[in-house]
């Protein structure tokens, strides 16, 4: 197996940047929605990892 580490690193960096963008997107969502609304969505993620 030939691994191109430069390519892997570049992918990792792009993925991280994309995740940071999603953090901003999600915060904007939280800011314009009621606590009850955004938390209901977040709870799907949290509860799925708890049960």
């Amino acid at each position: 197996m030939k691994i191109n580490f430069e390519e892997l690193e570049s992918e990792r960096e792009k993925n991280f940047e994309e995740r940071l963008k999603f953090v901003s997107f999600w915060v904007d969502y939280i800011k314009v929605h009621k606590d009850e609304e955004w938390s209901e969505q977040q709870n799907i993620i949290v509860n799925s990892q708890m049960n």
Binding site: F16, R19, L20, V23, S24, W26, V27, I30, K31, K34, D35, E36, W38, S39, E40, Q42, N43, I45, V46, N47, S48, Q49, M50, N51
Partner: protein, 196 residues
């Protein structure tokens, strides 16, 4: 969500998930504490869960610890490290002990004594979060942002994301001077640029 920085209070009308219920049930046993690290971001909406919740308490002597141990057990929790109360007290003095609901190791509370200056700062300047049922005490947001950036120096991108989440959510309400001071003290200027 409403943040009153003068009163050091946040009102949060979120619906509870299983992690919130666990934390609220455990914290209701305690007299004094402060929650630090990942759960603070999760409480305010970060889209992830966690296996442990970091909690700091002021120094306890053995008598106080024994009384607390009894209250914790009576409330349906158990120590994951040991069932021996003397051993648990010794372990707590050294590092941390974990508590979970009986026979359910996940999630758990990583229970630590306040030791260093960062711990002391977090406890002294803690914020009260008023929830639909009960309240919780958390580390100040400025410290959480800076401390998570310091943790990220270990290479964990999750910590940068946690920090960015809090920074963006509370941007307008933060004490910028205090945040800048903490960023400088923790030497995380480079990491801070990433989240801005």
């Amino acid at each position: 969500m409403e943040y009153n920085s003068t009163k050091k209070e946040i009102t949060l009308n979120r619906e509870f998930n299983e992690l919130d219920k666990f934390v609220i049930d455990f914290c209701s046993i305690l007299e004094e504490y402060v929650i630090v690290s990942g759960y603070v971001s999760i409480l305010f909406g970060r889209s992830r869960a966690t296996e442990d919740v970091d909690l700091l308490v002021p120094c306890l002597d053995e008598n106080k610890f024994n009384l607390l141990w009894e209250r914790i057990e009576n409330a349906g929790f158990e120590c994951l490290n040991t069932q021996d109360i003397t051993e648990a007290f010794q372990m707590l003095k050294e590092n941390a002990i974990r508590f979970s609901r009986k026979n359910k190791p996940l999630p758990n509370i990583e229970f630590k004594l306040i030791k260093n200056d960062i711990d002391k700062y977090s406890f002294k300047n803690k914020l009260k979060v008023n929830l639909k049922r009960g309240s919780l005490f958390i580390s100040p947001i400025e410290m959480q942002i800076a401390y998570k950036l310091w943790l990220a120096k270990g290479g964990n991108e999750k910590d940068i994301e946690d920090s960015k989440h809090l920074y963006e959510l509370f941007k307008e309400k933060l004490n910028k001077l205090e945040l800048t001071k903490l960023v400088k003290e923790l030497k995380v200027e480079k990491e801070f640029k990433i989240i801005q």
